[in-house]
Homo-oligomer: 333 residues x 2
Amino acid sequence: MKKLINDPDDVVTEALQGMAAAHGDLIRVNLDPAYIVRADGPVQGKVAILSGGGSGHEPMHGGFVGRGMLDAACPGAVFTSPTPDQVQAATQACDGGAGVLHIVKNYTGDVLNFETAAELAAAEGSNVRAVVIDDDVAVKDSLYTAGRRGVGGTVLAEKIVGAAAERGDDLDAVVALCERVNANVRSMGMALTSCTVPAAGEPTFTLGDDEMEIGIGIHGEPGRERLPLEPADRIVDRLLEPILEDLPFSSGDRTLLFVNGLGGTPLIELYVVFRRAAQVLEERGITVARNLVGDWITSLEMAGTSLTLLKLDDEMIELWDAPVLTPALRKGL
Amino acid sequence: MKKLINDPDDVVTEALQGMAAAHGDLIRVNLDPAYIVRADGPVQGKVAILSGGGSGHEPMHGGFVGRGMLDAACPGAVFTSPTPDQVQAATQACDGGAGVLHIVKNYTGDVLNFETAAELAAAEGSNVRAVVIDDDVAVKDSLYTAGRRGVGGTVLAEKIVGAAAERGDDLDAVVALCERVNANVRSMGMALTSCTVPAAGEPTFTLGDDEMEIGIGIHGEPGRERLPLEPADRIVDRLLEPILEDLPFSSGDRTLLFVNGLGGTPLIELYVVFRRAAQVLEERGITVARNLVGDWITSLEMAGTSLTLLKLDDEMIELWDAPVLTPALRKGL
C-alpha cells in the first residue's frame, strides 16, 4: 500500500486537522466526535443542512461545508458510516432553530445511523427531517444497500438545497426541493482500477490489466458487468444509456451534466468523457444548461468516472447559480 | 495502459473539445493551432497574460484562463512543449494592445519555443515580455532543463500576476511582479508511482512497491534520491527542509503554503500532508497567511505531492485574494 499517511488509524483525524488548519476562515472542526461545521454557524433562523458518510470520498462532504451549501458534515472512518452520536452532536451543533435536514446517501448503515441520530436529536429538541438520495441506476440492491445507491446526485442536491436554505426557505420547502432533486437525478459509474482502504492495506477488489467494471459503487461494490477495456466514447455510451432510459430524459429537457472523477483519473480524461456525453445529449435534443467536471465524489485513488444527469427546472438553475463559499466549491463570494 | 481515452493521438484535441463544451461561458478554444483564450478577450487596453506547456498537468494551464488570471493558454502534446506558431497565434489572439506577458516554466523546449514565438509576434506588432519560472529546489539541472525546473510556483504566479493585469497594471509592473513572485517561491515534489503518457503506452519510470522518489519532476524526471517509503510526516519534512533553507524562509515571514496533488493522490492524503507542513512552519515561527490544497499542477495520474512556499508581501496578498473566474479556480465572481 503506497499512501501519504502516517498510521492508517489516524488518517481521518489527521486529515481533519489539516482541513482545520487550511480552512479556519470557513469551517470549524470537532475531533471527538468528528464533525465539521460552518465557521459562522449555527446560523439563527436558517434551516441547517447536514450530510455525512464514510470518509474516502473527499471533497464530499466536509469540503462542502460553508455559506450556500452544508452547515455540517460528519465523516465516518474510511468507507464506514458515521455513528449516531456523531451525527447527533453535529445536528445540535448546526441547529439554528429552524430545523435540520439530513441528506443521507442510501447505504444501510448510513440510513440506520442517521435515523437513530435524528431520534436522539429530536429528544433534545431539534426538528430533524431526512431525505435519502438513491440516484445510481446501475443495480437495484447492492452490497451495503437495499434499493439504489446514493452517488453523484448527492453533490448536486447539497449545492441546490444548500442555496435554498441560505436564501431562507423553510424546512418543508427545503425537504420538498431535496426530494425533487433526487427524483430528477440519475447516475452511473465505472472503474478502471480498485482502491485500497488504509486500514485494510490491500485493494478492495481486483481487475485484470484489460478489464473494467461497469456500474461500480463508490466503495468498490460490484456493478453490472466486468468487460474488456473499451474506448472512452463507448464507455460513455454504456453509462449514459441506462441513465437516459431510467427517468426517462427526453428531447427538450434542460439538464445539468456532471462528469465526476473517482480520484485517480486525470482531468484531461474527464474532459474526453465530457465531450462524448455532451455530444450524445445534443444528438438527442437534450440541453446541457449547466455542468460540473472534476473530482467531487471520489473513491480514494480509484481510476474511473461516474456520470450524473439532473433534469433542471428554473428554480434549480437559480439555486445552482447562487453564490457558494466552501473549501472545495467557491463562486460569487 | 488503462485510460479513459479513444486514440492516444486525439487525447489533447478531444479534451479541448470537452473544455469548450463545458466552459463556453468563460473560454474560447481554437483547435489548430491549439490554444484557449478568454471568452471576452482580447480585453482592449489590458496587459494579456499567456502561459502554456505540455498537456498532462491539468488544470494548469487551460483551466486558469478567464477573468483575473490568464488571457490565453497553449497546450502542447502531453509532456511536450507547445510549438512557436501555436504560441504566436495565441499571443496575437489575446493581445489587447497593452502588451503580452509570457509566463514560461523553465524547460529547455518551452523556453526556446516561447522565445521564437515572442520574436514572431513582435514582428507582427505585439509587445511581448517573458518571465521564466524556476522554483523547484530539488535539482540544479535536469532532464529537459538547464537550471531549476518550473513547477508549483507557476500556479501562484499566474493567479497573482493575472490579478495585477486585471486591475490595470502596465506591462513593466506586471513583469516586475512576476519576477518578484518567482524570486520568493520555492517548491519540491515526490512521487509514489509513475504515470503513463498515452502515446508511450508504458509507465515513464518504475518504482518498487516500497519505493518513493524524492525531488521528482512533473514529467517523471529523476529527483534527488530514491528511498524506501516513509510515513507522510517524514516525507513532508524531507520536502520542506530544502525549501526553507533555500530562500531562506525565516521566523516572522508570512507565506502561502500550497500542497499540490500530482493527480493520483486522494485529497484526504493531501490534508494529512498539509497538517504536517503547517505544523513545521508554525514551529519555526513562519505564518501561513494563505493556502491552496488540491490537484492544480498534475502529472497525469501520478501519485505523489509537491509543496510550494511563497513569501508574501501585502500586494501579493491583495492580489491573491482578488476575484477570479476560470474553469478551475473561482472566487468572488
